[in-house]
């Protein structure tokens, strides 16, 4: 575990993301999907299903899960783990809401080296 404190980046207002929906962030190493759930929490996951590369940001957000629009794989938004009989995981990043703003960990900017 790294002891270093998370650095946060303010990317948007919470209201820019529809409830039970998602928007995209472009980064140097591909797109990251920012999800907003029914209870106004936010999650950040790579926008790429490990199955066939489907854009997770276009899936249906229900509870704290996302269903891939291409072949209905379901992922836990918090851990990025596939649910049910499917096996696989999507990389997730720290994200939170503060004062109506969406903050994400700056980790995703440098992830190419980590990956």
């Amino acid at each position: 575990m790294m002891a270093q404190a998370t650095e946060w980046l303010d990317i948007a207002a919470l209201s820019d993301i529809p409830q039970q929906g998602a928007r995209l962030l472009r980064t140097g190493a591909g797109c990251v999907a920012i999800f907003r759930t029914h209870d106004d929490r936010v999650f950040a996951l790579d926008d790429r299903c490990p199955h066939k590369g489907g854009p997770l940001s276009e899936g249906i957000v229900a509870g704290h899960t996302i269903t891939c629009p291409l072949h209905n794989w379901v992922f836990d938004l918090n851990s990025g783990q596939a649910q049910g009989a499917d096996e696989g995981a999507v990389r997730s990043y720290a994200a939170r809401v503060e004062g109506g703003r969406v903050l994400v960990s700056t980790e995703m900017l440098t992830r190419r080296s980590a990956a």
């Binding site: 820019d16 529809p18 962030l25 472009r26 980064t27 209870d39 249906i60 229900a62 509870g63």
Partner: protein
């Protein structure tokens, strides 16, 4: 010489602080400013004053005598114009006062949404006694009031005005009332209760303007709705009143920033109440403000004290609405829900548990245990031992876990289980012993739980008891969120008048907070099909194709298919399609099986601009992605063909222009052939018409996909008008009755073609009623989704939020 203390603002927080100071005979010479021409009163009790249950005199906490006896100099009705921190002077309208210590308690100001007409007479905020009196003066019985804002304050205002005889409408921007305190299920129950009292509630309503010449007359919403309003109350929220602090160059974020001793950035200046921000937190409820008052009084008397915000609970002060919310009830990765719903009695309880602790509770209808749950949250009690029975409250604790089967086992044989069909427990037991070991078999033999379905759980328990726990689970539920089948849910939506997603989930006892990817698209369709005027389409419950109005491809690009009515196009349309294909670098242009042109491989962010270009050439969405009307395939018919018997092209165009835009349980494809040679392949479509000399053969329920199936004849009619009427009625019957994702052939196999014929062929009244309902629905849905989403303001959601590639490079 006594130190001079000046206090700005005589609200509840500063009032409590002054009580503490003067009770302890603190050695201060106190001057109190208040912009209102009166002292401290209990603002929480303004709603009973508004409703007429109390008067101002009842809610005064500090009268003139009180201030006099405590030696406080009052400067009421006087605005403070400025603070000079360097020279330690407060400037009032009637002169300056020096201070040694200053307390700012300016409270909060109502937030006025910046719409046209907000300055008209008759538009009032709801904050203080003057506002309340203005509302009382305006509240003529029978007159109309619109309250903008469905939070705590707005609903209290609405209830008060309604009790004074006004016709009240509440407009709320969010999807459900009091979204900060309640989840959607509890919000729905609250809305139902308010509506039962005669208050109209309009959620997802954005105010566009307040209309009126010399006085407010009506409120116009963004969606075009207009509500008459002799009085408009704005209760959309409050913001800390920080103007004096800002002018004095004190540190201000959203509120005046204070430390744990309520000290501002100037060591001689303190602040408390709704105007402060403490560790990024603002305060609106009275309990933490009273804590602040105590801490600040101690600080001013030189005692060590520190403010620590505590959990707060909310109860709604509207008579008849039993509502409670405490702690944090948001879902979380490490959190689990316990949900209890009793649809019959309108009860909803949700507990949120993290580890062994209760962290949040929302309750509606029965809040008797609220304070007990609140205690568990505040004290962080370990609840692992009582978890199974926690939701039943303190009365059920300590006696070991309750066997949920015990109550059912104790029922006598003549106890009625299924109220709809009058089936008692004894008959179910007999049927099960006679071999009905699944729910389906039992329903077939006894009809128990076969109607409204609400007793299904009970029926299953009786079966389990009888069989010794080995019930063959009949997987009838539409998804993991409910045991009710699609048909049951559709029936309940109609029978109980359920018009929103939270309404269905509550009244049908959903086991998840907001459904899943299986049930949400189905519910969205059922609701819009049954309540076209009341329900608003929920984009977030749509599959990607219907949300983005284009067909997603394997690489995440989209295909765009403009409508070609009846497969007929023009050189101008073809030119516009060619231009769009080149402008947006479309990698493939393909002719579809449905007689139109598919542009494949379009990037999502290009969709709105491309649609706008196609719209400019007069084309609309072909809905090639939709569970809705796709194409009407035609042959050239009598206009050109030497065999053609009727104008099949014209009929195809007429049908497509009538039916387009309508949402259906699954896709709907039509074909119209001009003679029995059937060049339009009409006999493998959902609806096919084959023209003959004597008229039109209308056949239905064909398929040419995974299943290949020839259509079956519905009826032969002599005129085109009759053909159109019977087809429209058939599609509406399909929309009203089929399971989501059942093609027409699957649905007619379930219900039987004879039943369909009885509705749309044999019964002319029923046929016309179906057509009328279809027309009503089309008055809402026959519109081009491309035009809507290509509007400049609607395009943003098709592009990324932010591009971080530049920042990464830095």
């Amino acid at each position: 010489m006594m130190e001079k203390l000046v206090v700005i603002g005589a609200g509840m927080a500063s009032g409590r602080m002054l009580e503490h100071l003067t009770d302890a005979n603190a050695p201060y010479q106190i001057t109190l400013f208040n912009a209102e021409p009166r002292g401290n009163y209990n603002r929480i009790m303004l709603s009973p004053v508004l409703s007429g249950e109390k008067t101002y005199e009842d809610i005064v906490t500090h009268d003139a005598d009180w201030y006099q006896s405590r030696g406080i100099t009052t400067r009421f009705g006087e605005h403070v114009t400025g603070i000079d921190c360097k020279r330690k002077i407060v400037h009032g309208q009637n002169g300056a006062v020096p201070y040694d210590k200053l307390v700012i308690a300016t409270g909060s100001a109502p937030f006025m949404i910046p719409v046209v007409g907000r300055d008209l007479p008759g538009v009032i905020a709801y904050r203080d006694l003057d506002d309340t009196n203005a509302m009382i003066a305006a509240a003529q019985p029978g007159a109309e009031a619109v309250v903008i804002g469905g939070g705590l304050l707005g609903l209290e205002a609405a209830a008060g005005l309604q009790m004074r005889g006004m016709k009240v409408t509440v407009i709320h921007l969010m999807g459900h009332l009091m979204e900060r305190q309640l989840d959607p299920s509890a919000g729905y129950l609250l809305q139902k209760a308010l509506e039962a009292r005669g208050i109209r509630v309009h959620c997802k309503g954005a105010t566009k303007a307040i209309l009126g010449e010399t006085h407010a007359e009506a409120v116009l919403l963004e969606d075009g709705t207009v509500y008459g309003a002799d009085l408009v109350v704005m209760a959309v929220g409050i913001r800390p009143e920080t103007r004096l602090a800002v002018d004095a160059h004190l540190e201000v974020e959203r509120g005046i920033t204070v430390d744990d001793q309520l000290r501002t950035s100037d060591p001689s200046v303190f602040a408390l109440g709704e105007c402060v921000e403490h560790r990024q937190q603002l305060f609106g409820l009275v309990a933490p403000l009273y804590d602040q008052a105590k801490v600040l009084a101690s600080t001013l008397m030189g005692e060590a004290s520190a403010f620590q915000p505590v959990q707060t609970a909310t109860k709604l002060k509207v008579t008849g609405c039993d509502l409670f919310s405490a702690g944090d009830f948001a879902d979380g990765p490490t959190r689990e829900d316990i949900v209890f719903r009793d649809p019959g009695r309108g009860i909803y309880k949700r507990l949120v548990i993290e580890g062994d602790r209760l962290v949040g509770a929302v309750m509606y209808g029965d809040t008797a245990d609220g304070s007990w749950f609140f205690g568990l949250i505040k004290d962080q009690t370990d609840i692992s031992q009582m978890r199974e029975t926690l939701i039943f409250g303190p009365a059920f604790q300590g006696g070991g876990s309750v066997d949920p089967m015990a109550a059912v086992a104790a029922l006598p044989p003549d106890a009625e289980i299924c109220g709809c069909n009058g089936v008692c427990k004894g008959r179910i037991v007999d049927a099960v012993l006679g071999g009905a070991d699944t729910l389906d078999k039992l329903r077939a033999t006894t009809k128990a739980s076969a109607s409204c379905g609400t007793c299904t759980g009970l029926v299953q328990q009786v079966m389990a008891l009888t069989l010794g726990g080995d019930v063959a689970e009949a997987a009838v539920g539409m998804c993991g969120c409910t045991d009710l089948a699609h048909e049951d849910v559709r029936r309940l939506i109609k029978a109980k008048g359920l018009k929103s997603m939270p309404a269905v989930m509550q009244d049908c006892g959903w086991t998840t907070p907001d459904g899943c990817a299986k049930c949400r698209p189905a519910l969205n369709f059922y609701l819009l099909a049954d309540w076209p005027l009341d329900y608003h389409d929920d984009r977030q419950s749509r599959f990607v194709n219907e949300r983005n109005h284009a067909n997603i491809q394997k690489d995440g690009t989209y295909s765009v298919v403009p409508r070609m009515w009846g497969g007929v196009t023009t050189p101008a349309e073809l030119r516009a399609i060619a231009d769009a294909a080149e402008k947006y670098n479309v990698p493939m242009v393909k002719v579809t099986g449905g007689q139109r042109i598919d542009l494949l491989g379009v990037k999502k962010e290009d969709l709105p601009a491309m649609w706008a270009d196609l719209n400019d050439a007069g084309m609309v969405s072909g809905h090639a992605y939709a569970k809705g009307l796709r194409t009407v395939k035609t042959c050239v018919g009598s206009e050109f063909c030497r065999f053609g018997t009727q104008d099949s092209t014209g009929l195809g165009i007429r049908l497509e222009k009538l039916l387009w835009g309508s949402w259906t349980p699954h896709k709907v494809k039509l074909g119209v052939s001009g003679c029995p040679r059937n060049c339009a392949e009409a006999t493998c479509k959902d609806v096919g018409v084959v023209c003959v000399d004597s008229g039109y053969q209308v056949s239905v329920s064909g398929a040419a996909g995974m299943e290949v199936k020839e259509t079956e004849l519905l009826v032969t009619v002599p005129t085109e008008d009759e053909a159109v009427e019977v087809i429209t009625a058939f599609i509406q019957l399909y929309r009203e009755n089929a399971r989501y994702l059942d093609r027409a052939w699957k649905w007619t196999a379930r219900v039987g073609l004879d039943w369909v014929k009885a509705q749309v062929v044999d019964d002319p009244d029923q046929r016309r009623a179906l057509v009328a309902r279809f027309d009503l629905s089309q008055s809402v849905y026959r519109k081009d989704p491309w035009a809507e989403h290509a509007k400049p303001g609607a395009r943003d959601e098709f592009s990324p939020l932010t591009d971080l590639r530049l920042e990464a490079a830095e």
